[in-house]
Structures are given as C-alpha cells and as structure tokens.
C-alpha cells in the first residue's frame, strides 16, 4: 500500500461532495422523468390499435391524425392563437420591461411590477372561472363569439412570461450606449431601434418563445373561455381522453413534444448567449 503511487486526487477516494445513495436516486429520478414520455412516443409508432400490445412499427396514426379535419383545425387554431397572443404579449412586455428596468425607484414601480406578475400569482383555475363569468356575460350581451376572447385571455397570461427574460436581459446592460446616442442628438425611436434593440433582441426572442410555449400548452383557461367549435390541440386531446384512446393521441402528443423540445432547446441556447 505504501509502495504504490499516491493518488493524484486524494479527494476522489473520499469526497465530501458524494453522499451514499444520492447518485442512484438521482439517476433513477432522471430516468423516471423520461421513461413515461419515451413509452408514449414508442406507442405512437405502434401499428396496432392497442396502447398495450406492440404489433410492429407503422406511421398509420400520424397519417390518421394528419387526415383528421378536427385535429388540423385545432392545430391551426392553436398556432394562430399562440402566435397572436405571444406577439402582442411580447410587444407589451418589452415596453414594460424598458420602463421598469435600469431606473431608480419611481412612484408606482412596485405596483406595475406586481400587476405584470399578477397572472402568475393566481391559480389558473381561478383566473379561468373569473374569465368565464365575465366573457359569458359579454357573449350573451353582444352575441359576439370569436377568437378575440381567447386571444385576450392568452395575451394577459403570456405577458409575465415574456417579461421575465426581457427584463433579465435588460438588467445585464447599462445605459451608457443609449446616453451616448442621445447626447449625439439621436431621436428616441432611433436610439431604441439602433442601440437598444440590437442589444436586447436575444431576450425578446427568448420571451416570445416562452410566451408561445405557454400559450400552446394552456388547457385550463382555454377550456373555460372557448366558445363551441373553438378547440385548440390541448382541449381537443382533453376531450378525446373521455373516449377510447387510440395511439392517435400519442401521435399528436409526440409532435407536440418534439416541437416543444426544439423550442426549449433553442430558448436555453439563446439565453446562454449572453454569457
């Protein structure tokens, strides 16, 4: 024992950073996070009708979903809703973020901040039934049922999600470049477009993507606000679960998962860029 070369990293033998059993539990947990999703994806490629017995590889459920008019309508509606809501929310959130960062305390700053984050503080089901009450009243009074209700509701709860990354981005910058531009008599709009915007665009893109994902995923508020025939992909799937579930639901789920995973990876990549 004493003749052997001493270990180069004595800490490796006895590390205060390792705790017995923790690594096993951790690896088990991470595996468990992915296993149900992977099983769901696997069965979307099952050629049989069953969700239990594997009968061979096939894309038939993807074809069936792609030919299902209800699914296509819901998908288009979801995309339209998420793009509109995330778009408006991002513009409003960018303006609010510009107003509430890089400044001393001004009267009402805390109030603006609290208001913007308000949708995050209230359980979604509570916001959903409150919107149901108000919108039911407006719908009866005006007889007007269009996507505008869904767009309004989604925009409101998307704003805090769009706001956070933009604010985070702005807080890493200081005012010097903008002050310099103003000192050189650049008009405010030009300062924003030529100096501020190029610096904060990763935050804006990240915020918009986050808002888009949040809107696409929403079930609860959509379920309570939508009028007849306004199913989005999540509410369509929720409705399907009441019937006999075929791997078609898995196929739709897989497409959502894939799209979501790509967006989230992009989001991480963009928010990493700032370092």
């Amino acid at each position: 024992m004493s003749d052997t070369v001493p270990p180069r990293h004595p800490a490796r033998g006895y590390s205060v950073r390792s705790l017995p059993g923790f690594s096993i539990v951790a690896l088990f947990t991470v595996a468990t996070l992915y296993a149900p999703i992977l099983i769901l994806v696997a069965y979307s490629f099952n050629s049989g009708t069953s969700l239990a017995v594997w009968e061979g590889f096939s894309l038939r459920w993807y074809v069936q979903a792609a030919q299902n008019g209800e699914v296509i309508d819901a998908a288009i509606r979801s995309l339209y809703l998420a793009l509109t809501a995330a778009g408006i929310a991002t513009v409003a959130a960018t303006m609010a973020a510009l107003a509430t960062t890089r400044t001393r305390r001004f009267p009402g700053k805390t109030m603006i901040y609290a208001l913007i984050n308000q949708p995050l503080m209230v359980p979604e089901i509570v916001t959903a039934v409150a919107l149901l009450i108000v919108f039911a009243w407006i719908k009866v009074a005006t007889g007007y049922t269009s996507m505008i209700y869904l767009i309004a509701a989604h925009t409101a709860f998307c704003i805090p999600f769009a706001y956070l990354p933009i604010r985070a981005r702005l807080e890493t910058m200081d005012n010097t470049l903008e002050t310099a531009a103003r000192d050189l008599y650049a008009p405010p709009m030009k300062v924003f477009l030529r100096v501020t915007l190029p610096q904060i665009w990763p935050g804006i893109i990240a915020g918009m993507m986050l808002a888009f994902v949040i809107s696409m995923d929403d079930v609860v508020i959509t379920e309570f606000v939508k009028s007849a025939g306004q199913d989005t992909i999540p509410t369509y799937m929720l409705g399907q679960l009441r019937r006999v579930v075929t791997p078609e639901v898995n196929a739709i789920s897989t497409v959502i998962l894939a799209a979501g995973a790509i967006l989230v990876s992009l989001f991480f990549w963009i928010s990493r860029e700032r370092r």
Partner: protein, 313 residues
Amino acid sequence: MAQAPDTPLAPGALEHELEQADSRSRWLLSLPAIVIITLFATAPLLVMVLYSFLTPGDYGNVIWKFSTEGWTNVLMQRDIFDDTLIWADAHLSIFWRSVKLSLITTLLTLIFGLPTAWFVATRPKGQRELWLFLVTVPFWTNLLVRTIAIQELIRAEGVINNVLIFLHIIDEPIQMMFTDFAIGFGMTYVYLPLMVLPVYAAVEKLDFRLVEAAHDLYASRWTAFRRIILPMIKPGIIAGSILVFIPCLGAYVTPRVLGGGKNLMFGNLIELQFGAGRNWPLGAALSFTLMAIVMVALVYYVRLTSREEKTDV
C-alpha cells in the same frame, strides 16, 4: 437620466420636474401591459367577488339578488329536511384530499428531488449545465401530454401492469387509475422539477469547506449532512416545497385525467360549480378560498426569498 443643465434657475425644482416627466413616460410605456392584464386577469377577479354574493340561477349563471349563501356553502350546507346548517362533508373531504395529496406530493418530490439536485450540483462545472437542462426539459413540455404519459403507464392494460403480469408478480391488473395514488403519482412526476431547481441553487452555493471541516472533526457523513448541509440548504428546500405545494393545491388537469369523476380536488370542485353543479356564487367563493390559501403560501415564499437575498450580500 438626463443631466440638469447648469443654469442659474433653481436646480432642485428642475430635477424634480425631469424626474416627474421620467416617471410619466415610464408609466405610459407600461400602459399596454397594464391595461391588458387589468382587463383580462385582474378585473375578472373583482367581478367574481361580486358574483360570490349573488343568488345562483336555476340554469347556471346568477340572479341579481344579494346572498351570502355562496360563502356559507363553502363549508356548510342546508339540511334538505329541516333546513338547518350542517357541515358540507363532501366539500370537507375534497379539501382534505387536496391538502393531503399536495403534502404527500411535496414530500415525494423532496425525497426524489433532493438527491437529484445534489447530484446535479456536485457534477463538474462543464457537465452541470447539461444535467440541469435534462431535468428542466420535461418541465417545459406540455403538462397534458405528460399527464397522458402517466395515464398510459398506470392504466389497467398499461405498461406497469403488463410488466408485473409478465413477471408473474400479479395475476390480475392492479386498478391504479382513478385513485388518489394516481393523482399523487402524476403530480409528483409533473411538478418534480419545481423542487429540484431551488434545492439545486442552494446546494450550488454551499460552502463545501464547512463540510470538510465537519469531516476533519470526525463527523460521520450522516452527522455532517444533518448538522451542516441540511441547515444550509434549508431555504432551498422550503422554497421548493412551496413551489410544489401551490400548483398541487390548485391542480386541475392532473386530477381530472388521473382521478376521474370521483376523486375530485379543489380545482375540480370549482369547475363542478360552473358545470353540472350550477352554483356560480359557490364556485366564486370556493375560488377565493383557494386563492387565499395560495396567497398565504406565496407571501411566506416571497418573504423567505427576499430575506435570503439580503443575507447573501
């Protein structure tokens, strides 16, 4: 901030004016966000306060007549025979299930989340971000899809039952769907990342020299964990627990899909009043009851995290 020009005019007054103009323009810039959120998130809550004090209509909606029945019905109900107020047992059992399942879920996410957070935080710097990414990605994927994944796992003909039957551990499939177990299992799965992230942040900040010192003083691993590590990561654990507990209490999708029509939680009870129950004032009152509990937890959380930020400096 613009500099006050060096004129002989009272400089204090000018600065004050500039500051006011600055505040005004900042309010103006925030206006679209404020208006949208006020109209479509805050104001509906205020309207709902009003609705909680009205009389339920026969076919849903309300009759415009003042009544406190909505609020008393949260906990009490009128006996159908002699019209006396008695405890609403159905509601109480649903509240109890909500709190019980939320607490169990919080505990389970801690049991699995703490080692996971520890593991991720003690990886070499280069790997850490990848592990963190792996833990976070499922959280950002669709909640309904993840719930469906759990449903397919625990259904009567699901993967778990099939494997157990294949291994001859059981003969008949175990009924796991539409039970409290299903809801607890699903919520643990869905909200686990909310526990991992704050605990991870706490472990990452941990000063390991203190742990080394404990070991130098002949503390066993268990003693060092209990006396040194645990007290230092406690704020992270409390934060994670609140972050898990809050969405559990207000959960709607997971109990609806996995719990079915019988095992209701708070969120489903609220929905019921706006659907088959046709008691909008009660639904409104229940919503504020839920919101009040969540607010208490949130205020506690905010106070905790702001205190932590102060000690960081």
